[in-house]
Subunit: 461 residues, 2 copies
């Protein structure tokens, strides 16, 4: 006799093509959360998911409003009170994508090449969240039941750092109540080395605007006695870093908890060689290579400060001889250990204001924050995930730290007092947030089978 | 009996409203020379001028092709070989203007408020070039003749630094042959203090592009070991300046000819107070105020290096957590004395390449150049201009140095061996190259009358 997970896996294989086509429908909806012009697409995406969850005969399916974009919720609680409940979190929103950014195909028309689907959101996070929906469907359609209770919880503001998620969770603690939360929104180094993330960096994201003259000035008539706002911004941004590439904001490193020897040994297992790093990123040389930290430590366990965007004056074709009226930049820090995102913003703002000369005006605004997160790896929920990869994916996973920030992870752990297991089904080079984001259809399939096994493993904890 | 200039001035007053309406027709044509999308508008503008010059019954009227935008030419040689010939140079192209840059009205729909017309090109240079056309018309319609021979020479590439003008002049030296060139494309401090420019700064305009990874990267997955191209650009741009705001490019000041005491005394006559400077520009404080040069010296007789534009990564609404693939900037130097624009570009490029770290790639391209120019003030052509302002404008002019660059000035002087007299009919705060560029209709009228008198003064030299 077959295990219930076996028949569910057979079903998933037999329905693979339909599952892919359903995913492609999702990928065609440009559900950009950061751009007000796409509010209607966000709504369409939420309605598509609601309709889909209803069709699977989940219970309590609803689009739930927040102060921003809505949450889509649905549950199957048929396993009963003596079985664990797993909360599946995913996000249906995506970051912007324009053909002229370097996409080879329309970012919102999924295109399959060499077994990979190219589209914005393919791996982040539509492809990955859908894995759990399809795993649940496979149980319900074959066994009429799943091994554990499942709550599907999909938000539409992850890419703008989930500004309304904390109040939402607070308000709906009973509805969301669960024993473990699983999130698939991360990646592995290669298909044969799945990774379970047990740590994430936090984030402080800010915007700086420098203003000089009252309007763009003719650089010939006025150049020589006006502090060019673009130059003033350059000077300010330059002073955020020390000569050794560390961050110069006073107190920035105060709450970074030093890595232990044990932690460094585990991180070393997934370290990258310089060649691998250059291959994946395309950079000519590694930056900060002479520091005391390894590459993996630098990108996953150490704090950063990056310029995400910068603008001033004329960037169109041909010359334009102006002194720009203003200049701006978006900057963000990835945070680790006990660094508090609001405290880091305060330090950043204070420092920038202190180094801004009287020849220009500066404004520093906070855009979003996210707390760092860290979970132990020896708890049953983590070990069940490891077994699921072994049986469902066909490879032993490594436990790793992620350099990215999924704000909800620390918040769920804080508010719901449950562990969050990050079972990533993407590849490091899937190009999330980049042009030509892709997702392997083989990984989509193996992900569904792993998610099927995970529910069974959770039932047997 | 009236002087011929008196009847021409009466005619100009009687036809003032029609002259203004004709100017407004020109201002409605968005003849942007730097943007290929506006090539058709450039053509329309050239055709409008050709039609207009033909209607005035000038001779030899033609649109003359160049490798870029065409020249419009027309002449009246009825004064005969014993009278001087004046070459009037102007440009019919304009710099870009977008409503969202801060214009209060459509930049290509001239709007009159408080006696000023607001439109891109109102002062730079459509309003000013048209003064000479109308002065000639006034003579021809009242006297059937002008006091001197006049050649009208209008180009369409001044705002992109006239890349095709030198070959054009070389090829048409006979056609353009004249005794003096007059250009109205500059301004005065106040309506009661007209200014004749006898010096201009030159220009080297370059673009820098820094490239890092092969595409935009997720800042969480890769941040910490990638040299952010925006930061690399910031570092490069920061190193172009010394701590005292002087320019750090080796050899940059080598060919700057020191100002004599006599020159400094003349420049001091048109110096600005800190209050006037802050009022005109809107800056909170003057930059480089503690240097050894006065404000007027800094903006008109000293070289500069300005950032005209800068771009990288995400500048749209909301956060986007990327490490940008590249970053770029447009920078330009205003040059004085014996500084050679190509030599300055070579020094700049070499220096930038030398300070670029191996973690990124850099490309430095030359966009345009213009040589500096300086003429003596005691020659008859300059003195005739001074008399013309006294009689036609009603105020004694000052001789000043201009901080801007009109590439053709140095080229005409070099190739045609004639003086160039820059009789500006604009105001310093007309906002050329800025939003809400304007031109006073009173100055338009007084300009036409001054131009009428100037032709008579030239005849009497």
């Amino acid at each position: 006799m077959m295990n219930s997970s076996d028949s569910a896996r057979v079903y998933a294989r037999e329905n693979a093509e339909r599952f892919q086509n359903e995913l492609f429908e999702m990928l065609r909806i440009p559900s950009l959360s950061g751009d007000p012009a796409h509010k209607g697409d966000i709504k369409r995406m939420a309605e598509w998911l609601e309709t889909h969850l209803r069709a699977l005969e989940l219970q309590n399916v609803q689009i739930m409003p927040t102060a921003g974009h809505p949450v889509v919720y649905g549950e199957w609680l048929g396993a009963g009170a003596d079985k664990p409940t797993v909360l599946v979190y995913g996000h249906y929103d995506v970051v912007p994508a324009l053909l002229e950014d370097g996409w080879h195909t329309d970012p919102f028309e999924p295109t399959v090449q060499d077994g990979k689907v190219y589209a914005r959101g393919a791996t982040d996070d539509k492809g990955q969240l859908f894995i759990h929906v399809k795993a649940l469907e496979a149980y319900l359609k074959t066994n009429g039941a799943a091994p554990v209770n499942v709550k599907i919880f999909l938000e539409g503001e992850e890419e703008i750092s989930s500004p309304n998620l904390v109040p939402f969770i607070k308000e709906h603690l009973d509805l969301l109540k669960a024993d473990v939360c699983v999130i698939s929104d991360t990646s592995m180094r290669s298909i044969d080395e799945p990774a379970i993330l047990h740590s994430l960096r936090g984030m402080t994201y800010a915007e700086i605007e420098v203003e000089g003259p009252k309007e763009d000035l003719h650089s010939g008539l006025w150049g020589g006695a006006v502090h060019n706002p673009a130059l003033a911004l350059v000077e300010i941004l330059g002073k955020l870093y020390n000569a050794d590439n560390t961050i110069a904001v006073p107190g920035f490193y105060d709450d970074v908890v030093p890595l232990t020897e044990q932690e460094r040994a585990m991180i070393a297992k997934t370290d990258l060689t310089a060649e691998q790093f250059k291959q994946s990123t395309g950079v000519p040389e590694i930056w900060g290579w002479d520091t005391e930290y390894s590459i993996r430590e630098s990108i996953a366990a150490r704090p950063t400060l990056d310029i995400n965007g910068m603008w001033s004056g004329w960037s169109g074709p041909g010359p334009k001889t102006i002194i720009p009226q203003k200049a701006g930049a978006k900057i963000s820090s990835r945070l680790v250990g006990d660094q508090d995102p609001n405290d880091i913003f305060d330090k950043l703002k204070k420092y920038i204001e202190s180094i801004t000369p009287p020849t220009v005006k500066v404004k520093v605004s906070l855009l979003t924050t996210g707390k760092p997160a860290l979970f132990p790896i020896n708890i049953p929920e983590m070990q069940a995930a490891a077994h699921a990869y072994e049986k469902g994916w066909g490879a032993t996973p490594v436990f790793t730290r992620g350099g990215g920030s999924i704000p909800v992870v620390a918040e769920i752990a804080d508010m719901m007092k449950i562990p969050v297991v990050m079972m990533g089904y993407g590849l490091d080079d899937d190009g999330l947030h980049s042009p030509n984001e892709k997702y392997s259809l083989e990984m989509f399939q193996r992900g569904i089978e792993t998610a099927i096994v995970y529910l069974e493993e959770l039932a047997n904890m």
